[in-house]
Symmetry: C2
Subunit: 248 residues, 2 copies
């Protein structure tokens, strides 16, 4: 499909095409295509823009990453299809490792996704082989590489609630990017960025770059974050938007 | 995937599997898989139940169908994957024709969907051949069979806004089933049922059966319907649900 740049839905349709291409190339599971649709609906309700609440969460996330000793970015098929370059960039600005971890796992999908990340400029991608186990998870995802196993902070964008809970139980800080502010993942994570990953990741990288020279005390202050209060404020903003629709 | 009936997400996961199966069988387009995800998100926000506003819309829709001389149910891949039997049942209770009409059209998909409807018990399915044109539509969908061409009322579940507008412009009454109360389709249709199609269609059939003996005047009164007022009330109910989340 050729969508002209002037089309009002250009950005949304462009992203949709990336997911479709990801499915056809074997990186995105069919369930991931559906999950993208869910994300589209929530983004539509947000007004397809990064809310002030999201910016606050991104700022706290950047400080948290810079304070971490072993930060890791967990990547699945949708993340790779939408933002391989942005993941690589964030790994550089935040000094994080990259690890592939899939809900609908297969060695072939892992390989395809790792290839995408290398083509996007990654120096090292973990996750092809798995030696460690996260307790409290039934699915194949309990098996992880040494990146997530040793991490103190994990960025898990587009994640399922079980895994977020298991990582929290394992004593790790979890930063998630989830367009549904009501999801279990959103409520379980240490920091939830309610935003489209394609908008949020570049901002997160920018904040990491900007704060690189900050003192530890300064970062610790910025990293202080009340996740539930932020989510509630986000839902309040969504309700305001619905009011505009009603009055329109 | 085998999901136990006791699983809290059983119904949603069962429906998801029907869409996946529809994709694998060639009835559902990849874009339809994504669209299902969008519907899931909106249904989640509704609380996955038929709201009172939806019941009111369904009642008006039933009366409108019974008052129509040439009602037609337009079916696409997602509708066939989710409710072929319910479509056949509604065609009997409302004396409506069935016509296949696809956004991502191909003769092969049309054939697959027509086959599904015949297997579900349909006596006649239109749409394989197209002789007529709906004005004001750019896409392949402007071509229709004589069912939609001659219809005075068209049920268009899971529809795009352009087509709804074109059918309205052609002087037809349009009944849509759309989980997004803010969509252009929802705002354009004569009657919008904001509900999951798998819940709404059986209720619509039941109302048609129940009202079969009603007088024309009685039906005309029930068919009187303020669509925008109903949509606004629906959005108000959604906002109330969001409040419960905030307070939870």
């Amino acid at each position: 499909m050729t969508v002209p740049r002037s089309h009002p839905r250009y950005e949304s349709l462009r992203i949709r095409e990336m997911v479709s291409a990801g499915f056809l190339s074997g990186a995105v599971a069919l369930e991931g295509v559906m999950a993208h649709g869910r994300g589209e609906a929530f983004d539509y309700i947000l007004g397809e823009e990064t809310l002030l609440t999201a910016k606050a969460a991104i700022r706290a996330a950047a400080a948290t990453l810079l304070l971490s000793s072993h930060p890791v970015i967990s990547v699945n098929g949708n993340v790779a299809a939408l933002c391989s370059k942005e993941v690589v960039n964030l790994s550089l600005t935040s000094n994080s490792k990259i690890e592939v971890n899939l809900f609908y796992d297969s060695i072939q999908r892992r390989r395809i996704i790792i290839g995408m990340l290398y083509r996007a400029g990654a120096k090292e991608v973990l996750g092809l082989e798995r030696h460690s186990m996260i307790k409290g998870l039934e699915s194949a995802r309990r098996m992880v590489s040494h990146g997530i196993a040793q991490a103190d902070t994990v960025v898990v964008p587009l994640e399922d609630g079980d895994r977020t809970q298991a990582l929290i139980n394992a004593g790790k800080k979890v930063i998630t990017i989830d367009l549904n502010p009501l999801s279990r993942t959103a409520r379980t994570a240490s920091i939830t960025i309610v935003d489209n990953i394609t908008r949020a990741l570049p901002i997160l990288s920018d904040y990491c770059k900007e704060m690189k020279g900050y003192h530890t005390e300064q970062l610790a202050e910025i990293a202080e974050f009340d996740n539930m209060a932020n989510l509630k404020e986000c839902v309040r903003l969504i309700k305001e938007r619905l009011d505009e629709y009603i009055d329109a």
